[in-house]
Symmetry: C2
Subunit: 373 residues, 2 copies
């Protein structure tokens, strides 16, 4: 068995779960936030820094790695862990999302997707089997099946098609893995847009296929947050309690708290690293834009309550100067802070769950975060 | 006395010197390479990383800091050390070089230089007194006097003018410091282009003014290397042996070795950090361009003989991937390697001087570096 999941506790008040995920490259306490390393690097960070910030599992991306540097090169390098010098667990997204959001042109059929690279226009075919093979070469601890992610908004017909194709491809992936004798852990991905019966049908069909864990996809793609929470309310109760649940592409501190309260165990999002590179940072009282002139003469830390390297040693004034002058150290220091902010939040969530006070933490945290104090 | 210099040993074979410079923020062994932190950051690096690489004194720049974030802000921050979180020694260049190379327009008179900011076109006047005051606010351990740096090539008349003005401004700086009662260590800067009598006249006049150390300026501005070595041969013997000598804007491993052999103690250069950001790294057998396709499948380190973090953990193939995809970690890893490369070279030079084998090191090193093996 490539991975195992232990459900330690379910919060009776909310349904939030405390768990432990064991992978070939180490153990991960859940709920967990997974920093994103799309192109074999968590942007601006060394692997040691990610670990020191509390990162225990990172995400990478099959679409991107397939195009650059190519999975054959990663094979020669001895797998992704070795290539990028990260020896903790890695989860690979299948690239379904990227094929639909980035590729220049694509032709979808039940067989798979023919697409043109967003980098050089070259043509490629992704089938569920091929994607699974690529993820096998990459050597991720958890791989996602190839899926079709419907945009938001989309027609009911498109939502049905994406859901049905995703189930069809998941079936083919499972059969392919059995045929090649792979024991790599693949998670199915629940689709179904924001339509209740489709979410339910998708969850039921995938549970039938008995994957070791389930991604909840097709959310955080532009829909209002209440709709995302609805989709979780429809989906999560149908997933087997003994298996990990991963909400893909989320997120912000408030969404993480709401999803944990609905029984989600795993998260990933480019938000902390991307925001950082645009000069924006999380604080316990909301977002702060470092380029804003009011920070120029502010010698306080980014967040008085934060103990990260950046907050211990650098002022808002210094950070403002870094972004005004375009200095790379600014991107790094903001990334450190934002990653630590989300990893600190999930640590606090786990502590609160262990001490039966998650609902209180959630209320308190949300009030400060959403009202600015 | 703000700084002191102890000349430990002079190599009888070459004239190279082993020394120790004591500053208000710590002791520096010489010969020393000073990483450049123009805008209050050694590009891409944290202060701790610079220290871990062996950096013991860094350079910053009066022209840049005056324009952004402004010296008044640095005053409020409690000085540059505190603002940028570096508690080791700092040397500030006066900005003379930048006024002449970067400013959009400038009007030079004996009084000073009226110039337009290269950032927003705003007009500013730099006089030797004003520059000294700014450097006082910055709080550098070693400050350079405001000088006029003649370009290469230039007419004899322009070289004379730049030399005479530099001496005049040095005199005014010295008088101003006495008047305000500053004990900050200011170094005079020898100019005189590549004209022997001007270099000699400049050195003699500045020695007369009795600065605690001497910069050798106006070199590494495009002249052929043999001319730079000639200028050192004319200048250095006229400088007092008990005071440190700093060759400004140099440099490359070969130039550092040649200058050390001529009695230079201190160096700074943007080369290692700038090269790194363009994807080029030093190796013991010459420069390597990481963007070059031949590195794509090379799983060896940047330099087999290097023990830096980058060489211990990442391959040329990974670095090639970082630069192909424009990932910031690549800039960092290349910067780490290049800075370590020069700091390692100066450490090896000091060891060789201590063990009376500098000339041998120089011959051996140069042969490998210049001939590619």
């Amino acid at each position: 068995m490539a991975i195992s999941f232990e459900l330690i506790k379910t919060d009776p008040e909310t349904g939030a779960r405390l768990g432990r995920l064991t992978t070939p490259h180490g153990v991960v306490d859940t709920p967990v936030f997974m920093p994103v390393g799309t192109q074999a690097t968590v942007k601006t960070m060394t692997p040691e820094e990610v670990y020191d910030l509390g990162g225990r599992i990172i995400l990478s991306n099959t679409y991107h790695l397939y195009l650059r540097p190519g999975h054959e090169l990663i094979r020669e390098a001895g797998g992704l862990h070795r290539f990028m010098h990260w020896d903790g667990p890695i989860l690979t997204d299948s690239g379904g999302f990227q094929v639909f959001s980035l590729a220049a042109l694509r032709k979808i059929s039940d067989e798979g997707v023919m697409f043109q690279s967003h980098i050089d226009g070259s043509k490629h075919l992704f089938t569920p089997e091929k994607v699974a093979d690529i993820e096998g070469v990459i050597g991720s601890d958890i791989a996602m099946v190839f899926d079709e992610c419907a945009p938001y908004p989309c027609s009911y017909e498109d939502a049905v098609k994406a859901h049905e194709r995703t189930v069809h491809w998941a079936t083919r992936t499972r059969d392919h893995l059995a045929q090649i004798g792979s024991d790599q852990a693949f998670f199915g991905i629940v689709q179904g847009s924001v339509v209740r019966e489709l979410r339910e049908a998708s969850a039921r069909a995938l549970v039938e296929l008995d994957f070791p864990g389930y991604g909840i996809g097709g959310l955080s793609v532009g829909e209002p947050k209440p709709l995302m929470y609805d989709a979780l309310d429809w989906t999560v109760p149908l997933l087997p309690p003994e298996k990990p649940r991963y909400l893909m592409g989320v997120g912000s501190p408030d969404c993480v708290l709401e999803a944990v309260a609905r029984g989600v165990d795993m998260f990933d999002c480019v938000l902390p690293t991307r925001m950082a590179r645009h000069g924006a940072v999380f604080t316990t009282t909301g977002r702060l834009n470092l380029r804003n002139a009011k920070n120029a003469l502010d010698f306080g830390p980014l967040d008085p309550g934060c103990g990260c390297y950046t907050c211990r040693h650098f002022s808002r004034a210094y950070m403002h100067h870094m972004f005004k002058t375009g200095e790379i150290l600014g991107l790094r220091l903001a990334t450190i802070h934002n990653l630590r902010f989300l990893l600190d939040l999930t640590e606090r969530i786990r502590e609160a769950l262990a001490e039966n006070r998650f609902a209180f933490l959630k209320t308190q945290y949300m009030e400060a975060y959403l009202t600015g104090g």
